[in-house]
Symmetry: C2
Subunit: 359 residues, 2 copies
């Protein structure tokens, strides 16, 4: 069989598009979405599956899928995957379901007969298989070129998923480390309270509702985690005092947003995070600190964190008072609407928390 | 012109290999190395160039190259790159040097005539060009398929470089943030001293000399940055005391490695970092804390950090004494060889610092 130049150029083009698409993001869910859709298109198959190997249980689990009815995905775990494993590791190329299942795998054959029209390509990184990419194939209807392309999809999908996974892991290490350190700083006692984590959660709930984009949410998340980092510069005596602070002590305490902004100022990539840290003690009526900003002069990040911070403070035990209930805390915040807090944001937050309480 | 199946399968295979190779690492220098070598092989060209656009100066600079003589790379900046820019942005495909250079670009033609046998493919991300990939081409000797493959290489190279760049940026944000926070914690005063940064530098110099692998160096780097994070749990009164500590105060002070390990214990991904943090105050003769480990029972990370930490403490001003010179500090450390410090490591460190002083 021979092909003209156009056919080849078009195949090369498809593969080029594929690789560009699969690697164009380090966001794991976008990468998987892309894998499913591109595979479906290039293999002219409406049904695509990503199966991942669970190293501990040695089973293959359906991780993501396109075009299947829920009922078809009922069997979502494949035990006894030695035959899969064998084929993946030793052949390293496309295999059909018939090659994969041993005659003993009756159960799967019976429950899910349509699987028998599937092709699988290994997802492997540096010779180690960690899953399979499957398409519903028109059996015996694939050319050598189709199989070559499918194998290429599998191998590129594996690489793209691996990269996105590495990025996600680094990101989570970063956030968790910042959170553990921030928590230790804000409480001067390692990780007892979880205040940092809760403020971050409340802030992101608001951000979700406001429809902030991914970049804005990332910056807000970090600002929420790091908002009290400047407390490192406040003396123990003030920080741990359970009675009311004197005017002088309050003045010292009120330097913490500037100290926090200064610490983060040493990190170039933290520019987007500083507004929330520097201004989370501004009041909506202009009577807060450090700059006495009012209304929408106060960065959105800071207005969100102010609400999240106050709500968490009210709903947790402090040395000098017991926690309020969520309902009582929302009432207390409401009295400060337009005074301390942004009224619009507060209304949205109230609705969110009321709904959460009702569940 | 027609081709048989084998030719096509082999082209597809090359492209598949390429994409797998280019994306198989998020380490920018490995990615670039791979781009240069794979391009050279696939395009059958011994000379390959990566040119990057400097957005501010609007010039193209030679960023990396394979197979060129140093003299050929003398002209390493191309000013006046509007014609490049034009071609890249508006054509988005392979261009020859003749299309790129305006007739006025005499200077480049004269200085570097061999450039005229080059082909360029744009490096672009989401429609924005940030550079060119160039190969020394046998003019008019490339088939349409070659051009298609070259274009694909360019586009995949761009994506791989972008991903590696994003990963590197996140990694540096993480390290810088950890460093800024650690510095603030260890000095209870935001980023005055740079102790954290210097300990990290000394520790990594030792690691380099010892031939630790990338993973070990990463863990050591973080442990060096975070070694004193547990000081967050020590009272101001003890931390800031300029006179000798009492026995009771020393006891409290000596809890900081455990507190640090506990803080990092909340971060799953930090397991590899804890040994350095927990044991950086162990002594080689077993008389240190918290566990009184001796000799090689003390994790390597911790033995390295102990030397780096002590050397930096001696060579910087403290409230209660002036800095020693590097030479004097090395003598002081030498007296503690086998007592406080690992003799072998100390000898290597001494040689490193002596060499650094001699420069």
């Amino acid at each position: 069989m021979t092909y003209n130049e156009d056919t080849i150029v078009s195949s090369l083009h498809s593969l080029h598009d594929l690789s560009k698409a699969l690697n164009s993001s380090l966001d794991i869910s976008r990468v998987e979405e892309m894998i499913l859709h591109k595979t479906s298109k290039l293999m002219r198959s409406p049904k695509v599956l990503i199966l991942l190997l669970n190293d501990k249980t040695k089973s293959l689990n359906i991780h993501n899928a396109l075009g299947f009815e829920p009922s078809e995905l009922m069997v979502h775990t494949f035990e006894n995957i030695q035959p899969f494993d064998h084929c993946i590791v030793h052949k390293g190329s496309v295999i059909t379901i018939d090659e994969v299942l041993s005659p003993a795998d009756r159960e799967i054959r019976e429950i899910c007969p349509q699987l028998f029209e599937m092709l699988f390509a290994p997802l492997e990184i540096q010779g180690k298989a960690y899953g399979l990419l499957g398409v519903m194939g028109r059996k015996k209807n694939f050319s050598r070129i189709d199989l070559e392309i499918f194998c290429s999809i599998g191998s590129q999908a594996a690489v793209a998923m691996e990269n996105a996974g590495l990025y996600a892991k680094l990101h989570s290490t970063f956030l968790h480390t910042a959170e553990a350190m921030a928590e230790a700083i804000s409480s001067r006692d390692p990780y007892t309270g979880g205040h940092t984590r809760r403020v971050r959660t409340y802030a992101l709930q608001l951000a979700e509702k406001l429809g902030l984009n991914a970049e804005e949410k990332n910056a807000l998340r970090l600002a929420a985690i790091l908002h009290d980092v400047g407390k490192i510069g406040i003396d123990d005596a003030i920080l741990r005092k359970t009675e009311q602070l004197t005017a002088e002590e309050r003045l010292k305490m009120s330097t913490h947003p500037r100290i926090g902004a200064r610490i983060l100022g040493y990190v170039d990539e933290m520019k987007a995070v500083i507004p929330g840290v520097l201004h989370h003690h501004e009041w909506f009526n202009g009577s807060g600190y450090p700059d006495g900003l009012a209304g929408e002069q106060i960065p959105l990040q800071a207005r969100i964190i102010a609400i999240a911070d106050a709500f968490d403070a009210l709903t947790t035990d402090r040395p000098y008072r017991r926690a309020s209930t969520a309902v009582a805390a929302l009432d207390i915040l409401a009295r400060e609407s337009g005074v301390h807090f942004d009224p619009e944001l507060l209304q949205i937050f109230r609705a969110l928390q009321t709904a959460a309480q009702a569940q």
